[in-house]
């Protein structure tokens, strides 16, 4: 097994990183046909500043991310005003929302511990565990729903549609203690990563 990390996951350090993140999200969402093209050709919004945004890099390149995912921890006003998420927040059980999962098409479908997706999911899980989160909520378009369900998410609402998005979406919820055992086993094999540095909105 590899002892040196092949993929590094970290938060954006500066405006350059944030622009790279917005461009990656936009490029992959439009490529997948799940989003209509926008003039600005980027996908950044104010929630990014109040969330833990994760960027995956294929080392030694630390400038061009190959994947990204956003984790928003309950307790911020913008979390609570997400109309589809709000009804599924369980009182007394801290929760998080994951959004904006995008992996560069060139690096999708990598196998086992070489998976960019796996590294991002592990980092998101560690971020949530560090913040004492019990449930993770997400909104996924219909094509991604089976993947989330095999991770351990359960469908709790849908279908519905957002502006700028072409296809049906669903709300899904995961109990962090009930993730797929096979996924957890594969995560456990990854080289040790630095613990999540920031949980700005915890």
């Amino acid at each position: 097994m590899a002892t040196q990390p092949l993929i590094e996951v970290r938060e954006p350090a500066d405006e350059f990183d944030r622009q790279q993140m917005g461009a990656l999200r936009y490029r992959e969402f439009v490529r997948d046909g799940n989003m209509k093209p926008l003039p600005e050709e980027t996908l950044l919004d104010p929630r990014d500043e109040r969330s833990t945004c994760l960027l995956a890099y294929l080392l030694p390149d630390r400038e061009r991310p190959v994947g990204t995912l956003r984790v928003t921890i309950e307790g911020r006003s913008d979390f609570e005003t997400e109309e589809h998420i709000r009804p599924h927040v369980v009182p007394g059980q801290k929760c998080a929302e994951v959004t904006r999962l995008a992996v560069d098409v060139v690096h999708r479908g990598r196998l086992g511990p070489g998976s960019v997706f796996l590294h991002l999911i592990r980092a998101a899980r560690e971020t949530c565990l560090a913040a004492g989160v019990r449930h993770i909520l997400c909104v996924a378009w219909y094509k991604s729903v089976p993947v989330y369900e095999r991770i351990g998410f359960e469908r709790v609402e849908g279908p519905f549609r957002y502006a700028h998005y072409v296809f049906d979406h669903y709300v899904l919820r995961l109990d962090v203690h009930r993730m797929s055992p096979r996924l957890l086993a594969m995560m456990a094999r990854l080289p040790a990563a630095a613990p999540p540095k920031l949980v700005r909105n915890a």
Binding site: G114, P146, R150
Partner: protein, 93 residues
Amino acid sequence: MPPVEPESVLEAIRMAVASLDASIDPRQVVPEAELSDVGLDSLAAVELVGLLEERFDVALSEEKLFQATRVGDLLELVCGAAPPARTADLGRR
């Protein structure tokens, strides 16, 4: 450990792919096929390795798996892989 035959590995890959996604035709899982063309989603690509490692009692490295782009690459990796290190084995040395 006896050598692993490529034919049995290929058959195991086909069975694993079919178990992960019933909509994929196992006949398209041939050594020349690009893994991206087989149609596995991101999670299935993670799970496939776990299934093969269990089946053949081997451990495949992150780096080599990241470089694998064809079914044949995965087949070669499994055939040439070493069994996983075990704490009990280390303790006997």
